[in-house]
Amino acid sequence: MQTVKMVISGAVNAGKTEFIRTISEIEVVSTERPATDDTRLIKKETTVAMDFGRIAIGDDLVLHLFGTPGQKRFDFMWEILSEGMLGLVILVDSTRPETFRETNRIIDFFMSYRETPYVVAANKQDRPNAWSPEELRLALRLPSHIKVLPCMATDRESVKNVLLELLDVIMQRSED
């Protein structure tokens, strides 16, 4: 059985757990706990280790989805999770510009570790004060070749679209 891995990362409350929960075939293995630090101001529960979801591709192939913890003190997990990943989704809470710097820090981290195919998903686009994907591209200063996609992590079609766009980027780098 071959397994391939995608990582879903982003700042606290970007919607990583929800994203995986929406698409995973299994009940997401989550490690949410009552938030105990600054995170408490944003959400009651937060992911303290990681989320794990799974999609069976066939009898011999499985796609694993890992969500990284958003809190800084778990940065060490990112390196472990990024080992051997096929691609990366960076989720951004489009309604909270205060998380944009942290999002840049996360992108910098993953890109300094290895050249990984990634896309940025502008989550919570259904909220009235959401920054548009194009505004997020400028705010995060992302180059034009990086895809910034509208996303609603609670909507299956939206999550599927993000993953398909990432797979398109991966496809461009894959071998015959």
Binding site: L61, D108, E134, E135
Partner: protein, 273 residues
């Protein structure tokens, strides 16, 4: 919908960059305590700025500065009422009450000073209202102002490490030009020290090395590079570590390559979900 936030989290220079690159038209409202300011943009360029305590028609401003008499101001106001959709600034020029260049110089100086003062705000709410235009009597400049110039001058007034470190966490980082930097520099006037740093940017030297080669302090080099960075001229990147090679000859830092057939299978599976 308006873009909202706090400049503590998304600084004024970041916002100016967004307005410039996004060719935005609208008004950026800033407020803290009892202070309020409004910056109006047309296709990414600044056309006017007002502050709560100095929100007057262009004619009042020019009378105050001794460039217009009250009679001339009244004449322009009267003419303005008869001309639909024309800014009062344009009416002044049309009536030959002031030359276009002189009006530009006076208004630009006035508006620039208003904006530069905003760079000292460490926090404050912002709200960008797309498409919002200034009152036609506002001191609208005949020639809109490129914001790179404002960013560079505003950043020159930053004297704290805190803000700089948000973007440049270490002097071990390498500075490199972004694509087509020459095109972007057209609206910017660099000071001598800035040219010294600019000329040393080669995509290889770290900030610390540039400081050593120019004989400037690391703080000054970082502050100058922060300005370039904020204006979108350069990028700072971590100095690449030597990349260990795998037995296959492929660098370890490269993501694993997968077969197209495998990716196609995953795509088909997700499409069918």
């Amino acid at each position: 919908m308006p873009l909202v936030g706090n400049i503590r989290d998304f600084g004024l220079s970041d916002f100016l960059y967004l307005v410039d690159r996004g060719y935005k038209t609208g008004c950026l409202h800033l407020s803290r305590a009892d202070e309020m300011a409004s910056l109006y943009f047309e296709k990414g360029k600044l056309i006017t700025a007002t502050r709560k305590d100095d929100n007057v028609p262009v004619t009042d401003l020019l009378v105050r500065k001794g460039k217009l008499t009250p009679v001339q101001a009244a004449q322009a106001a009267q003419e303005h009422q008869n001309q639909n959709g024309v800014h009062l600034s344009q009416v002044l020029i049309n009536l030959n009450l002031i030359g276009r260049d002189e009006l530009q110089r006076i208004l630009q100086q006035h508006i620039e000073e208003s904006v530069y003062a905003l760079f000292s705000w460490n926090e404050g709410e912002f709200r960008f209202e797309q498409g919002q235009r200034p009152d036609p009597t506002a001191p609208i400049m005949p020639t809109p102002l490129a914001v790179e110039h404002l960013i560079m001058e505003g950043v020159r007034r930053i004297d704290e490490w805190g803000r700089i470190k948000d973007r440049i966490p270490s002097t071990d980082m390498v500075v490199k030009f972004i694509e087509q930097p020459v095109e972007r520099t057209k609206g910017i006037n660099l000071a001598a020290d800035e040219w010294r740093v600019f000329a040393r940017i080669n995509g290889k030297d770290t900030l610390a090395e540039i400081a050593r080669k120019t004989g400037m302090s690391e703080f000054d080099v970082c502050r100058i590079v922060y300005g370039f960075l904020t204006a979108g001229l350069v990028d700072v990147i971590r100095k690449p570590a030597p990349v260990p090679m795998l037995a296959t000859g492929r660098p370890l830092a490269e993501a694993p390559r997968v077969k197209k057939s495998l990716v196609t299978r995953i795509i088909n599976r997700i499409r069918g979900m």
